[in-house]
């Protein structure tokens, strides 16, 4: 249970595919150089995680990702004592590892974590860049290259408040949205391995769904969902079939909405069949 974080971004591997939309790469790199913490805001599936991977690659730092959940305790992040035989043994948590190694520590969906947990981030996120470890009685100074990145999805307004102001104000914010159509086409085509024209039809469908103002939808069709549909098409599935499986199903359980979406798919992906 103490191996929650996974290390990615080994040097030498090719750069994770990420197309910048605005100045987000420059902002991130500037923040990194100045040792500032970063909060990434945006809807699900718009490329936040991929962005961090690309940045870790560019900056040559290892990346430690922690998916936050509502029972994540401070010990899960910082570390804890275990017993090995007759001895106690301290085991670093993912955050402590990142602080020691100077890695980029990415806390995905940080609002999910318990609030007492996020407080441990405060001394790390501001100018002190320190991690006090109460149980060991030490305070670690963050190694050069350490960078704290958190992400969250400001979906429901009232829950947005869940990220404390004291936490928010220690961070530099980068907002993410869905990329413009041309960029998204390129992304879908490349990630899914399908033709540009096919990708364009998927993107049109996605953009139309996004205009619905979530009328009965849990979330709008994200780039990730479109890529999944594209991947199914690349595997030889009929486009409509693929879109139903990858877009309709994940977006809604409601029968009426599903029928409406299927209708949209049939209209938007009409010619691909022939």
């Amino acid at each position: 249970m103490n191996r929650r974080g996974d290390v990615a971004g080994a040097p030498g591997a090719s750069r994770p595919y990420y197309v910048p939309v605005g100045s987000e790469e420059n902002v991130f790199k500037a923040a990194f150089r100045k040792g500032l913490s970063v909060v990434l805001k945006g809807p699900t599936g718009c490329g936040k995680t991929r962005f961090v991977e690309a940045m870790a690659h560019d900056l040559g730092r290892p990346l430690i990702t922690v998916a936050c959940h509502d029972d994540l305790t401070t010990a899960d992040l910082v570390g804890r004592f275990l017993l090995r035989g007759g001895e106690t043994e301290w085991v670093d948590g993912p955050l402590t590892r990142a602080v020691r190694d100077g890695a980029i520590c990415y806390l995905d969906e940080v609002v999910e974590a318990r609030q007492d947990t996020t407080v441990v981030l405060h001394p790390l996120a501001d100018h002190r860049r320190q991690l006090p470890i109460e149980r060991l009685g030490i305070t670690l100074d963050a190694a050069p290259g350490f960078c704290l990145v958190v992400s969250y999805n400001p979906g429901y307004q009232s829950i947005l408040k869940d990220l404390k102001d004291s936490t928010r104000q220690r961070m530099v914010a980068i907002e993410f949205g869905f990329p413009p159509a041309a960029v998204e086409e390129e992304i879908v085509a490349r990630e899914a391995g399908i033709e540009r024209g096919q990708a364009a039809e998927l993107v049109r469908l996605g953009q139309a769904i996004r205009r619905l103002e979530t009328g009965g939808l849990r979330e709008v069709a994200s780039t990730r969902v479109l890529i999944a549909a594209g991947q199914l098409i690349a595997e030889g599935l009929d486009p409509r079939e693929a879109a139903r499986a990858a877009i309709t199903g994940p977006l809604s359980d409601d029968a009426a909405t599903t029928r409406g979406l299927v209708e949209m798919i049939d209209v938007y992906l009409a010619d691909a069949e022939k």
Partner: protein, 586 residues
């Protein structure tokens, strides 16, 4: 996204407690309706706003009144889709703006010429969005003649030859569009109806006196308001309603039925309990509880201003409420409301349990297999929560929401699901329904008291609720908090308000009411009662809701099935806010 009937946001809250005469008959062609109904999402996506699809008369060209697109059900699917896309594009591109449509009235030849140019322009302007298969609809040459609705109109007024629009372009029915706009305007200016007026009247109340953002009240000509609160409500008002036979109260006119005598007695549970049973107005005075009310204008409390009566809800003849499943609430709620217990001898945990570790070591040295459970963990184990659910049953909840069920119906489902799940989890839970008729008659009906069992009687009482009256939110909240404090008997207390957020009563204007409700919530929090406000299926604007619920945890959900994702964080936030206050003032 300029649409003529989209009124500008920022005019406070509007509330409609009446119903418009139009009740659409839907028996005929149900299958056709289903088929066309499926196109609703497509239509809404292209128009960029809520748009229905309905069958037109056979052989009729497609047309729209801004709220619905009417298609000939007899034509092929492809033709229907094309016609739909054209009409939705016209709306999206602002082609049916009031200023333009007005000039097309009674000039059908001009309307045709205008449609021929503007249709192509609208399609071309939305080209990036439309299905590529429909690209052949656009005549680029024609589209290039115009770059705005005004330019198209000028072209149509000119002498140049313009080919007839293709058949799938349908028609522009200026009169229908204008008629719906006029009706909207008329309704918007109709002031609040006082009880006793004929009930066919539309009851609209516009909270224009509290225009906080200072936006101009320009209902129809200001572009860009893609669905302000007023616009949306007007839209709702004008949409032919289809409410009968859906199990709920038959339309919001239930709100009017409380007036005299027994005519409405079967709808409004509050009056069945009065000793006389026939006289509305102030209920018996003897056992009411009085509460103060916050006067935002005078910045003071009005002492003993409101009288709250607990009235037995009607249950004898009511059908038991068919409780649906728990909407997946059990899992998120199971972890809530429990005290953190430090648990010894756990197999894993944050710290080492020294006693257990030493024992284990001794055992190991003595040669017996040691117990590995030597950690301390903080677990939530203890149920320590009482919840009072306040259900708004004022007339405004009888309105149909986007999903065609009334707000009341959806709120009731959520109330039932919450009550049941919390009850099963072992929490103390109560359910009270409230509505009001002036400050001396705020009525709370205990559907389930804290000590009641969750039995068929409770479900019958719940089934017997019908929306009526108004909502004096502040008094209801104060009473709920008082009940929680007296009878909750746990250290964590939570008040859940299920309401459409339209605080309104006699002498309880929206701004005044919102301030009072906010105040009442703050009072409850300062006394250690967590508050959580949920709007289910209501079309209330987020802004309006924030004005009423202030900093209390709140959320608006399109339907009950969305609750399971937010209920955990919301409950936690509400409990936490009360906890801070409790600790702050011991």
């Amino acid at each position: 996204m300029v649409r003529p009937e989209n009124a500008r946001a920022g005019v406070g809250t509007v509330r409609i407690v009446g119903t418009v005469e139009a009740v659409e008959s839907v028996e005929a062609g149900k299958e056709v309706g289903d088929r066309l109904g499926r196109l609703r999402l497509l239509a809404s996506a292209i128009a960029g706003c809520e748009l229905r699809v309905a069958p037109a008369g056979p052989g009729e060209p497609a047309w729209t009144d801004g709220r619905a697109v009417f298609l000939d059900a007899e034509t092929s699917v492809r033709e229907q889709v094309e016609a739909l896309v054209v009409q939705a594009s016209l709306l999206a591109a602002g082609s049916l703006d009031l200023g333009v449509v007005r000039r097309l009235r009674r000039r059908s030849a001009l309307a045709r010429r205008y449609l021929a140019v503007e249709g192509h322009r609208a399609l071309a302007s939305l080209e990036d969005l439309l299905p590529r298969s429909l690209g052949s609809l656009v005549d680029r040459e024609l589209a290039a003649r115009s770059d705005s609705p005004a330019a198209s109109l000028a072209a149509a007024l000119g002498r140049e030859a313009i080919p007839d629009p293709p058949l799938v372009f349908g028609a522009i029915r200026a009169r229908a569009l204008l008629a719906s706009l006029r009706r909207a305007k008329r309704s918007a200016t109709t002031r609040r109806q006082t009880p006793g007026e004929p009930r066919e009247r539309i009851l609209v109340e516009v909270g224009d006196e509290e225009d906080e953002r200072g936006a101009a009240i320009d209902l129809f000509t200001v572009p860009g308001g893609a669905g302000g609160p007023l616009g949306r409500l007007l839209a709702r008002l004008l949409r032919p309603v289809r409410r009968l036979g859906q199990g709920g109260a038959p339309g919001a006119d239930a709100a009017m039925k409380w007036t005299r005598g027994g005519a409405g007695g079967d709808r409004s549970f509050a009056f069945t309990t009065g000793a006389t049973g026939s006289v509305p107005g102030p209920a018996p005075e003897e056992r009411g509880t009085t509460y103060p009310e916050w006067d935002v204008h005078g910045r003071r409390y009005r002492e003993a201003w409101c009288t709250v009566h607990e009235v037995e809800p009607r249950s004898e003849e009511a059908e038991p409420f068919a409780a649906s499943n728990g909407y997946g609430l059990r899992r998120p709620l199971a972890r809530l409301g429990m005290g953190l217990d430090s648990c010894h001898r756990q197999a894993q945990g944050d710290d080492i349990d020294i006693d257990a570790a030493i024992e284990a070591r001794v055992e190991a040295m003595a040669g017996t297999p040691p117990d590995d459970a030597v950690y301390l963990d903080s677990l939530r184990r203890r149920r320590d929560l009482s919840v009072l659910v306040l259900l708004d049953v004022s007339g405004s909840t009888g309105e149909a929401s986007a999903s065609r069920q009334t707000v009341h119906e959806q709120q009731r489902r959520v109330a039932a699901a919450l009550t049941r799940v919390l009850h099963e989890l072992g929490d103390r839970v109560a359910l009270y329904a409230f509505h009001s008729r002036g400050r001396s008659a705020v009525q709370l009906a205990p559907v389930k008291r804290f000590d009641d069992d969750l039995d068929a009687l409770v479900m019958r009482r719940l089934g017997g609720l019908a929306p009526a009256g108004y909502s004096r939110l502040g008094a209801a909240i104060r009473h709920g908090a008082a009940v929680l404090k007296d009878r909750g008997a746990t250290s964590r207390r939570l008040l859940v308000v299920l309401s459409d957020g339209l605080a309104f009563d006699h002498g309880y204007e929206p701004e005044y009411g919102a301030a009072d409700a906010r105040r009442a919530l703050a009072e409850a929090r300062s006394e250690g009662v967590g508050c959580l406000c949920l709007g289910i299926g209501a079309n209330t604007e987020a802004d309006a809701l924030r004005r009423v619920f202030g900093s209390a945890a709140h959320a608006t959900l399109p339907g009950p099935e969305h609750l399971n994702r937010v209920v955990g964080p919301l409950f936690r936030a509400a409990l936490r806010s009360a906890e801070v206050k409790r600790r702050g003032s011991p």
